[in-house]
Subunit: 281 residues, 2 copies
């Protein structure tokens, strides 16, 4: 396996692969890999001749006061884990390699970044789309795999790819959960044992919401209130948002007529966690 730190070497690697007629699958990550990431890689492995992952804690998607500096990093462990899933190349540039002095170009997907995490993290998705477009241009993947845990991110990237006519196929992998239902996230590391217990309310209330819809409830407001009440009653939890939205446009729904997505962000202690679930009628 090769670890590549420069754009020029990565492009050379890609030229070599393309020259041999090989296809490429890219799984972009910020590292500190967990089973969720590894499942994306396992899904990507048979989809192309070359499986490339990127490990890059992207500064442009962190806001002021967010956890850029303390975001967990462990490259040796990540390398071993990636290799175990059949990854052939890790692209691991530093911030200056991706954003040299004088850098000034950004991509913005507008409407679907207005709500949810876009509302509470201004500029976040502008950083995400910019870095993902750069990674797509550098690695030229035929296919790229993203986790559904970051539901809005997935929708935003799909919209960018569609709008800008990018050649890559974007695939989604269902959220991977710990025992108890907590969605896997590198940020779970920040949780104390008590907070981890409290955090179970996220998935529990999403499942209850899905059950309510299956049981016939159609009012987004009613279901939302129940979830809000359950989370507010849990020690250490502070709601950032709880929304029921259209799966593609991410616009809030009043009535659940066909498919809908319930998405939420909750601070558990100082850690901001997100989760979501499709509410199928």
């Amino acid at each position: 396996m090769e670890i590549i730190t420069t754009v020029s070497r990565m492009k050379e690697y890609v030229r070599g692969a393309k020259g041999r007629g090989e296809t490429i699958c890219l799984v972009p990550t910020m590292g500190y890999l967990h089973e969720g990431h590894l499942d994306l890689m396992r899904m990507g492995r048979p989809l192309a001749d070359r499986l490339v992952i990127s490990i890059f804690v992207n500064p442009t998607q962190f806001g002021a006061g967010e956890d850029l500096d303390k975001y967990p990093r462990d490259l040796p462990r990540d390398t071993a884990l990636a290799q175990s899933t059949g990854v052939e190349c890790i692209f691991h540039p530093d911030a200056l390699e991706m954003y040299p002095v004088g850098y000034q170009t950004y991509i913005n997907v507008e409407e679907i970044t207005d709500g949810l995490c876009g509302a509470s993290r201004p500029g976040h998705f502008r950083g995400v789309t910019t870095v993902v477009a750069k990674l797509f241009n550098i690695v030229e993947p035929d296919v790229s795999v993203f986790g559904e845990k970051d539901y809005q991110q997935l929708a935003v990237i799909r919209k960018m790819v569609e709008d800008l006519n990018m050649a890559v196929q974007v695939l989604a992998h269902p959220t991977v959960r710990e025992e108890g239902g907590l969605a896997m996230s590198s940020r779970n590391k920040y949780l104390s044992p008590e907070e981890r217990e409290s955090a179970l309310v996220l998935n529990r209330s999403l499942k209850r919401a899905a059950g309510r819809v299956k049981g016939g409830e159609r009012s987004a407001g009613v279901i939302r209130s129940e979830v809000v009440a359950a989370i507010e009653a849990t020690p250490g939890c502070r709601i950032d948002y709880v929304e029921i939205v259209h799966p593609d446009t991410l616009k809030p729904l009043e009535t659940i007529e066909s498919k809908a997505v319930m998405a939420l962000a909750v601070r558990v202690g100082k850690t901001r966690l997100i989760d979501n679930m499709t509410l199928g009628v």
Copy 2:
């Protein structure tokens, strides 16, 4: 020669060419071709196996009250002219093909779009970079040729390509001028005979400025004042901007120490014309 109007057929054409190992040169235009465009095509012809041009009057780069609706169009004439230079394919989508309902993704190059035309035409370069990125993603050119007449556009596209790690090589062609020195532009069609005469002051004063620098003048302020005075003394001319800037950053210069670019935009009657010249020391 093939005229292609859909993104999907254009991508198919490109896949075919790439599959045969052919390279592609793209010359993006808004049509109503003149000798300036044809020279870009003649320059592009030997640079790749396939010469593709696009003809698309891009709505997102026109501001409210600008000349989007009356921008001149003549596809039959354009087709014949393009064919005469060896163009093999014209990509000619309509606005809805490029910007379907729900379109919402834009690319912004920030600092170097602040001044010059970026200041007088807010949103203009956002439209330019967005459509050029889309064209690059659709046509996947190895090389693309732009005219130096639109100097800021060229600099902005180069910056976008560098920042977003795009694979295309961007080449510039010197401004092509009519007899008398007027820079060729599809908008010259709007000029009355008297306005056309007045418009010669643009190139004449740029040449005089270049001569002043060659003669030893180093003060951007002095040279700028002379150009402003010459244009203001010409009937029907109203200055939009006259600036002396760094060739890459486009930041205004006070002293001309090495290379500089003098760029100007002037309304002649109702027609806004631009021109520029490198002031070499």
